[in-house]
Symmetry: C2
Subunit: 140 residues, 2 copies
Amino acid sequence: MLTRIDHIGIACHDLDATVAFYRETYGFTDVHIEVNEEQGVREAMLKINETGDGAASYLQLLEPTREDSTVAKWLAKNGEGVHHIAFGTDGDVQDEADGIAAKGVRVLYDSPRRGSMGSRITFLHPKDAHGVLTELVQKA
Amino acid sequence: MLTRIDHIGIACHDLDATVAFYRETYGFTDVHIEVNEEQGVREAMLKINETGDGAASYLQLLEPTREDSTVAKWLAKNGEGVHHIAFGTDGDVQDEADGIAAKGVRVLYDSPRRGSMGSRITFLHPKDAHGVLTELVQKA
């Protein structure tokens, strides 16, 4: 079952400058930064609020680390902005994805990959989801 | 102070079909529908989770009701997808906006307008916010 908005993924050119913008403009000071080599991004998770399922909602700021990453290509086409949204599941993310696939939505990964802060993630095809690139997250 | 992700605003061509997609695909069944004539949208608020500040996070699905609405123009240019994000404040939304304006971010409304479910809202210019059209919400 999907029990929360886990995060909003936002693509940016300069992670440090964008983190500073969100911290100084809005006061979002709870920041975790990591590199995901597989995804080709350096990313910041800004915790915004606790959620009723015992987890939290974040902004995820994404800066590409190489030009062939999907986020780099997306930025070149669209400029900075919202790249994807993510829902958190209280179960196994592959089971969740299988249930959604059975309803006719294409799942982009054959098996879950590593997401932010040790999570397991997969993505759904935006063309099957009214134009929204949608991620499913099972937190660590 | 901004204390939650209030909602993610998603533009769509057919509100009823998109609500049905989110309900049937993800199980989001808590739906409030209203028309905002001033904004030129028919909208659905899908409650996703409670938040730690005593409020909740929603998906806001937006269908234009007239061709000259900002959402209609946005859809014609971009197609369906994420239109804006919104943070909830625990204070007065105009005070929040004034504090953000003082940091150099343009606020789009001279005074707050009516948002979903009786809220008071304003918007920040996306060019001042790393490409993200950002709404501030004071709930009813």
